[in-house]
């Protein structure tokens, strides 16, 4: 039986518990066991906290990895940001001097990082560890929805070319029974970092063109693998509506779409916490009960 240590991060349990719920449902359906990482903390975020306090950031990342090492399984990371932070921390901790310095801090907590744990992103686990057939045979409610995929920047931290990384999410969406809408701006950032620096610029140069392209492609929904992109794509649609935009597309995490297609009821998934019409859309398409 496949067994994964699950790393949820902050955004998923605190903002989108629907994604956490879906993850538990989907992996249970696929016959994989999920082990919770007790006592983990924020990863912390891959850019801002690291820019300001790199040593503190690295120590917290190492602490999370050290906790995961004790459980001796692959670490399944549900959030793009956490994935990049942990992967980069792993790279930095290959340096023996750095590792010794960080381990001295962790020793007070009775932990030690040795570099054993394998960090894996959600989309990699779903495509590498499960055959397309395994997912296909669980699909009980296939809805021919046209979906636009957004992979997210932090998922691209990989030796693979970004275009190939984007393909992984698209293939996964197809394997889950959806039609992928090609909108030409798959690589574009959701605009979350840029809006920290300059909101108006991010809106004008990144978000509006991206969502316009999605709309033009005829997509009925957007899917992403990253909770921060999910948050950004939703809250920006709200902001754009105030400026007179008519774009109102539901945004889903890929796990939510999988849970829906596996036949779970949209009523009991906590979709009401989305700021886009995700719940209304899911109820209209997948129905109230099974």
């Amino acid at each position: 039986m496949k067994r994964y240590i699950i790393y949820l991060g902050c955004m998923i349990p605190m903002r989108f518990p629907s994604v956490e719920k879906s993850a538990r449902l989907v992996f249970a359906d696929l016959g994989a066991e999920i082990v919770d990482l007790d006592g983990y903390t924020c990863c912390p975020d891959p850019v801002l906290t690291r820019l300001a306090e790199d040593e503190f950031s690295l120590a917290l990342s190492a602490r999370n990895l050290a906790l995961a090492e004790k459980l001796d399984n692959d670490l399944l990371v549900l959030c793009n940001g956490c994935f990049e932070t942990l992967v980069e921390a792993e790279e930095m901790l290959r340096d023996q001097a750095t590792r010794a310095r960080i381990n001295a801090m962790l020793a007070k907590d009775g932990l030690e990082y040795t570099g054993k744990v394998r960090i894996r992103a959600l989309i990699d686990v779903l495509t590498e560890d499960f055959r397309p057939g395994e997912i296909a045979q669980k699909l009980t409610k296939i809805m021919p929805v046209k979906v636009a995929c957004h992979t997210g920047c932090h998922m691209l931290r990989s030796p693979q070319h970004p275009k190939d990384r984007i393909k992984i999410l698209e293939d996964l969406t197809v394997a889950t029974g959806f039609e992928v809408a090609a909108y030409g701006r798959e690589l574009d950032c959701c605009g979350f970092p840029a809006s920290i620096a300059d909101e108006a610029m991010a809106m004008k140069l990144l978000i509006t063109p991206k969502l316009d392209a999605v709309k033009r492609s005829g997509a009925e929904a957007i899917t992403t693998g990253c909770p921060t992109c999910l948050y950004q794509l939703e809250s920006n649609q709200v902001a754009m509506k105030k400026l007179g935009s008519d774009i109102d597309l539901p945004v889903f995490h890929i796990l939510e779409l999988m849970a829906l297609s596996f036949g779970h009821s949209p009523e009991t998934m906590g979709l009401e916490l989305h700021r886009s019409p995700a719940k209304a859309f899911a109820t209209a398409r997948w129905g109230v009960s099974q």
């Binding site: 891959p46 850019v47 820019l51 920047c153 574009d188 950032c189 004008k204 990144l206 063109p209």
Partner: protein, 156 residues
């Protein structure tokens, strides 16, 4: 005086997501603020076509900014071949701003001095924080080869 092991930045537009993290990391490293207007490199995005480019310093062998500087404030660090600005000598004439064909130097009004890329003293933050590795640090030796791979579209 060419140094083929000189470290340089290289940009690959096909990997760039236009997230602007490079500019944020740059401005935070140099000025401790997140302000993309204060970065030593610029991400240029065309909202209509989605084309993007990054204007970054190449630390040219015959640097236009260095030649244009009337006071000798711009100099080349011989050990690393990095072209730097000494703010104490800079008189704020903006000759370098006009001279650079890429448009890297910019005028910092509050300090009254021009600013440009200094490769973060050997650990460029833009490359460090670029998730898709669109900006990378490579040797000058490999530059022509890598540039042909990027420009020649060997992928397509």
């Amino acid at each position: 005086m060419k140094d083929n092991n000189q470290k340089l930045l290289i940009f690959d537009a096909s990997r760039c997501t236009a997230c602007h993290y490079c500019e944020m990391a740059c401005s935070y490293f140099h000025f401790k603020v997140i302000d993309i207007g204060m970065a030593n490199l610029r991400v240029l995005v065309n909202p209509d076509t989605g084309q993007r480019d990054v204007a970054h310093c190449l630390h040219c062998d015959n640097a236009f900014c260095l030649e244009a500087c009337p006071t000798g404030a711009i100099y080349r660090d011989e050990a690393t071949r990095i072209v730097r600005i000494n703010p104490m000598k800079c008189i704020g004439c903006k000759s370098c701003v006009a001279a650079c064909p890429v448009g890297v130097p910019w005028f910092h009004a509050a300090e009254g001095a021009a600013k440009k890329c200094d490769l973060c003293d050997g650990d460029p933050q833009c490359a460090k924080y670029c998730s898709p590795a669109a900006i990378r640090v490579i040797d000058r030796n490999d530059y022509r080869k890598e540039f042909q791979i990027i420009g020649g579209g060997s992928r397509e």
